[in-house]
């Protein structure tokens, strides 16, 4: 009896996260997916068909027949969407790379710091999260604008005489993304480096590696899982980022998050914006799933 009960409990423990995924990920996804197959209309909600359970199963089936791929076709017809996707991916990729360049040394420094100092350093990385993301991005406007803190400083230091135009350019977007997502890069790399056995580095040196060679042959490859996790954690939200390009970017900056927002709010075209969101999801999910498959295969090969 007790055995049965414990089997039930252990099953329940597994069910909870699955139920969570079902309710908060899969169901919303299907709602968005369904809307992406609908047609826009002037109504509330602004799309057809709308299911009416009163019609019974036959009624639902009939509504399903009204689904169309028109919105997806539309996305291919207007080059704006393609450009927005490409530019989003490029901006996200460049920012991810920059975040890695800055984040890796920070994580490395933290992992090599005396054990007693590490909690404080960790706290300093997490600290910015305690203020609102939006406010921090607004703060960058104050720093980057032509008469902002940065230009004032550079002019008073005599380094430049004309203020630099940074705000409302892609540079400002890069700064914003790198700044906002840096902790997501630092933390996984730090955790990978921190649990690394120091004797591995000594072994590499013992076998003839200079400290730099030991880094590239041992430390870096071993931190790769952290690097990959950090890059995904930065790249994925950066592709769909809306707030940073909206506040810091210029009018010519094309990012899919902004496009989606415009479709949804300005045009009130829910079906097209849903299609935009679904395509964005596929762009992100397919390469990641493929990559993980390759990784899993490589891992199991040695067995």
């Amino acid at each position: 009896m007790a055995k049965l009960a414990s089997a039930f409990v252990s099953r329940l423990v597994i069910i909870i996260p699955y139920a969570w995924l079902l309710f908060f990920f899969l169901i919303p996804f299907f709602i968005v997916f369904r809307i992406s197959l609908s047609q826009t209309t002037v109504a509330m909600p602004p799309y057809t068909p709308v299911f009416d359970l009163a019609g019974g199963f036959a009624g639902i089936l009939e509504k399903v027949r009204e689904f169309s791929m028109d919105n997806y076709v539309w996305l291919t017809e207007d080059v704006l969407y393609f450009n927005a996707y490409v530019s989003s991916v490029v901006i996200a990729a460049v920012s991810t790379f920059l975040t890695l360049l800055i984040g890796y040394p920070i994580a490395y420094g933290m992992a090599k710091a005396p054990r007693s100092l590490r909690p404080m350093l960790l706290m300093m990385v997490i600290l910015p999260f305690w203020t609102s993301f939006l406010i921090r991005v607004y703060a960058w406007i104050a720093i980057l604008k032509p008469e902002g803190l940065l230009n004032q400083f550079l002019i008073s230091a005599g380094i430049i005489d004309q203020p630099l135009i940074i705000l409302n350019t892609n540079t400002a977007i890069y700064i914003g993304i790198v700044y906002s997502y840096l902790p997501f890069m630092v933390l996984p790399i730090y955790s990978a480096l921190e649990k690394m056995d120091h004797s591995l580095i000594e072994a590499a040196q013992d076998l003839g590696c200079t400290p730099i060679a030991a880094f590239w042959r041992v430390t870096f490859p071993l931190s790769l899982p952290g690097v990959v996790a950090g890059c995904l954690l930065v790249f994925i939200p950066a592709v769909g980022e809306f707030v940073i390009p909206d506040l810091l970017g210029g009018s010519e900056t094309l990012m899919i998050g902004k496009t989606l927002w415009n479709e949804f709010n300005s045009n009130r075209d829910w079906p097209v914006s849903s299609a935009v969101a679904i395509i964005l999801l596929l762009i992100l999910v397919i390469p990641i799933v493929y990559f993980q498959n390759v990784q899993a295969k490589a891992d199991s090969e040695g067995r």
Binding site: D197, S199, D206, L207
Partner: protein, 380 residues
């Protein structure tokens, strides 16, 4: 082929004043802040020697090994290897390799890539690397495991990979930090002999750090017993065991009964000691002692005889007691015997026959006795 025994038996370069040491540690001190890990230590290690640094944890043996490897720099003093002063030479330029206690195998590389690591770093030609790796894996009998990753190996196999990797570059000296510490007892004993054979085959100098005295006794040509950053005694295993130079060494290596006392008389090659427990002990000793000088007598348990009747030479080198505890170990039995003054001593006897008629039992009154050459006189 000459048997390993015949090579070993005649191997004693430390006794030959003409032979030059291969590694010379000269007055080396290493301090970590206020803590002195190694304290003005000097010792010589000879080519092809299997040298063990033995001591309890924190005695400085690992620090000394790490200084040989180059991971630590001496605070003062110098280390000479094959005529070259190692001061300021980083680990990656030293002709020594180390086998780490944790093995430190690279988890992201296969067994063969682990072994090839140092060779690749040296820019050896690809074909040569493959040949050397194959040779090394054959040496440690791991040919079939070349493509595996370290996490797919057992502890014993990992130990062999670590050994193969540290030998691949053909170092002049191999440093081994607790090489068998992570293995279970049976595997450890087998591996001890394999390491000895390997060292003889390759003709290398091995310096091994261990806290396991049995391991050191089995493998090493000479042992340096260390305590508090200093070498207490450097000698062959037999000398360390049979002729410890101090109470510390006698106590540290194996089991021992120590009787405190004072010298009552000395004659040519003999010394007479009265212990505080009232036993009069007569031992062979090359050293001379002043009458009344404090001295301690150290006698190993296996050198003590137990009998029901008083031996002929009683009361010299004999005492009465009562059997207090019996520990049956299979190959031998350890008796704890309580003497008249309350001191409990250990005596062991070999179980040479399977069944003994009328064996010794608890609470039995017995005599313990020992010969004149059974014990060692310790000065302190």
């Amino acid at each position: 082929m000459k048997s390993l025994g015949s090579i070993r038996r005649s191997f004693a370069p430390w006794a030959d004043p003409a032979s030059k040491p291969f590694i010379s540690v000269k007055n080396v001190t290493k301090k970590f802040g206020d803590f002195t890990a190694v304290d003005d230590l000097s010792l010589n290690i000879y080519t092809r020697e299997f040298f063990a640094l033995l001591g309890a944890s924190g005695c400085g043996k690992s620090t000394l090994l790490r200084m040989l490897a180059g991971f630590e720099q001496p605070t003062s003093g110098e280390i000479i290897l094959d005529g070259q002063n190692l001061a300021g030479i980083p680990p990656y330029r030293r002709p020594v390799n180390m086998m780490f206690q944790s093995y430190a195998l690279f988890p992201h590389m296969t067994v063969e890539n682990n072994v090839a690591f140092g060779l690749k770093q040296d820019g050896m030609a690809k074909a040569d690397i493959a040949g050397r790796v194959a040779q090394m894996l054959k040496l440690v009998k791991l040919e079939k495991f070349a493509k595996r990753k370290p996490h797919q190996l057992s502890g014993g196999q990992r130990q062999r990979v670590a050994l193969a990797r540290s030998l691949a570059k053909r170092p002049k000296v191999l440093l081994l930090d607790e090489p068998l510490g992570a293995l279970d007892k049976k595997l450890r004993e087998e591996t001890q002999f394999e390491l000895m054979d390997l060292q003889q085959q390759l003709g290398l100098t091995f310096v091994v750090v261990t806290h396991d005295q049995e391991e050191a006794m089995t493998m090493a040509d000479r042992i340096a017993v260390m305590s508090h950053g200093q070498v207490v005694q450097v000698a062959t295993p037999a000398e360390i065991y049979e002729a410890p130079n101090s109470r510390f060494v006698a106590d540290f290596i194996g089991d021992v009964n120590i009787f405190d006392g004072a010298v009552t008389s000395t004659e040519e090659g003999r010394v007479q000691i009265e212990t505080t427990g009232g036993i009069s002990v007569r031992l062979a000793s090359p050293e001379k002692f002043a009458n009344g000088a404090k001295a301690a007598v150290a006698i190993r348990p296996e050198k003590i005889r137990i009998s029901r009747q008083a031996p002929a030479h009683a009361p010299t080198n004999a005492a009465e007691g009562e059997i207090w505890d019996i520990g049956y170990l299979g190959d031998m039995t350890v008796f704890h015997i309580r003497l008249k003054d309350g001191k409990v001593i250990k005596a062991s006897s070999l179980n040479a026959v399977r069944a003994v008629e009328d064996p010794l039992g608890y609470d039995q009154q017995v005599w313990i006795s020992f010969g004149e050459d059974a014990g060692v006189v310790l000065k302190d």
